[in-house]
């Protein structure tokens, strides 16, 4: 069984900022593997272990530095990594990113394509659907349990209303929730071995994409301006001296909420 896991290298949360000039996320600082993607890698490894054979390949779109995050996935146990990296791809929105990833995934012909549930930088939680539509494959999101047998993926997933069980024939795209598993820590041996595992970097031309299909040129959305969020009013903080409940009711009554 061949499993592809799509992962993203994201800026460290402490240093996240928008560049006022480009109005884009500043990606120049330290980065790390998107935490939600570790759940997808873990699930890919478990699928391979359950099948007793197979390959887990990581696929990412990002700057050269994204190799650091891919190596973390390799240290966890993935077999190889493919990074699509091209200066022309900077600032890609959903249509451009899904175009590049789908093209890279087309080469892999994986039975199962996994995604994490969201990216922690752009709070995007939709990429799988765009990629699956381009690949014309079934997809299921919010997977809380995933099993693969008899050529089909069976997914128990969370929605606003409860649980669904959905079955999709392979090849299929599945986005896992972070409730699905507890990602393993890379072992020392895994970390040592990661550097030697195959790591391929592809530019746009290797995927037969031209610059107009990627980055801002290939995007259909744009950032126009940045502004401060509307301020909240003053906050009032009181200590409970036994009368806090009365004070809350008084406060709510003042705002016509009770």
């Amino acid at each position: 069984m061949k499993i592809a896991v799509c992962v993203k290298h994201v800026p460290e949360s402490q240093s996240k900022r928008l560049d006022p000039a480009t109005k884009r996320l500043d990606r120049s600082g330290e980065g790390a593997l998107n935490a939600f993607d570790a759940n997808a890698i873990e699930e890919g490894l478990r699928l391979k272990e359950a099948a007793g054979e197979g390959e887990v390949v990581l696929v990412s779109l990002g700057p050269e530095r994204a190799l650091d995050s891919l190596r973390k996935g390799l240290a966890m146990g993935a077999d190889r990594a493919v990074l699509v990296s091209d200066a022309a791809a900077e600032g890609s929105d959903l249509v451009a990113t899904s175009r590049a990833l789908a093209t890279a995934l087309e080469r892999e012909q994986a039975d199962v394509i996994l995604f994490g549930q969201q990216s922690s930088d752009s709070d995007g939680a939709v990429l799988w659907a765009a990629v699956a539509d381009r690949l014309q494959r079934p997809f299921v999101s919010q997977a809380a349990e995933l099993t693969v047998s008899d050529g089909a993926a069976r997914v128990k997933r969370q929605t606003e209303f409860g649980y669904d069980v959905i079955e999709a024939p392979l090849p299929a795209v599945v986005a896992v929730s972070d409730a699905i598993n507890e990602p393993r820590y890379p072992s020392l041996k895994g970390i040592m071995g990661a550097k030697k595992k195959p790591q391929e970097t592809l530019d746009a031309s290797a995927l037969q994409l031209d610059g107009s299909q990627l980055g801002e040129a290939g995007s259909e959305t744009q950032v126009l301006a940045l502004s401060d969020p509307p301020a909240r009013g003053d906050t009032v903080k009181i200590e409970d001296d036994g009368s806090a409940a009365e004070k809350i009711v008084e406060f709510l009554a003042g705002k016509r909420l009770v």
């Binding site: 928008l18 959903l94 249509v95 899904s98 175009r99 752009s122 709070d123 939680a125 939709v126 990429l127 659907a129 765009a130 990629v131 539509d133 014309q136 494959r137 079934p138 997809f139 999101s141 969370q158 929605t159 606003e160 209303f161 409860g162 649980y163 069980v165 959905i166 079955e167 299929a172 929730s177 972070d178 409730a179 995007s219 259909e220 959305t221 744009q222 950032v223 301006a225 940045l226 502004s227 401060d228 969020p229 909240r232 009013g233 906050t235 903080k237 009181i238 200590e239 409970d240 806090a244 409940a245 009365e246 809350i248 009711v249 406060f251 709510l252 009554a253 705002k255 909420l257 009770v258």
Partner: protein, 320 residues
Amino acid sequence: MSILVFLEHHGGELQRNALGVLSKAASLGDEVHGVLIGSGVRALAPRAGAYGAAKVHVADDQSLEAPLPQPRVDVIAQLVRDGGYATVLFGQSVLAADIAAALAARLEAGLNWDLVDVVQQDGTLVGKRPALQDTVYVDVGWKSEPRIALFRSGTFDPKETGGDAQVEDVNADVQEFSKAATMIEQAHAESEGPSIEDADVIVAGGRGLGGPENFKLVEELAQALGGAVGATRAVVDAGWYPYSTQVGQTGKTVAPKLYIACGISGAIQHKVGMQSSGVIVAINKDPNAPIFEFSDLGVVGDAHQVVPKLTELVKQRRGS
């Protein structure tokens, strides 16, 4: 140019979230149509007129009963191509997000998500999106049509303005790969009282309540206020309360008129899901809990003491 709004429904009712987006679309001044997809749903269509839809396209077929995204993408893509819609709007949900993103790829269209507003500016639409844990607002635009947008859940209140909508059947060709995923089983918990996305008041509990048995206190206060119960990720992970009530980054984003947080520290994971609430009241023993930084009224105290008293006072006030 006209706007198409996805009319999500559940349990035989149009979702409040979708109706809010419909009302917002109608306020933009363009002609607004809705699209309703499912099995046995035609009767719901005219009601959308009250919230501003001039016309509702209905794809009503047994094969569309399960709330799966891919057949819905085919229906909407065909409508956009045939009807020339310049804009397609969705209220956030698991289903709507999946449809919107696949539709964007299908139509090579721009999708802006997590929007809290959209305005007409210089003859085009501009969306407002909070970013980086809502510390900055980003104005986002579309470079081409159709424009696709997903709004944060609960962003707009539905407003009854019009009459009945004209109903038009649509027979869309569903692609083979769109039929591949099938629903095997649905276990949808029927919760009592309003669901958290529709509620004007949410009383939420966190780990500070000490144990699942103490959620009773939160439930009683919610009931007294006519509201719904919410929970934090920590509490849901611990199995104290169901996922369907989870508020936060990996749960629901809510914006009730009143949010009462009981024993909740206010971690970012939770904050992003509720900070758009109208009025936030927090009760927490820890004076340094981050939740006090974005509460309108913070009470440093024991939720076990304060909440039952508050419930009694609210009941007295409401004469029940």
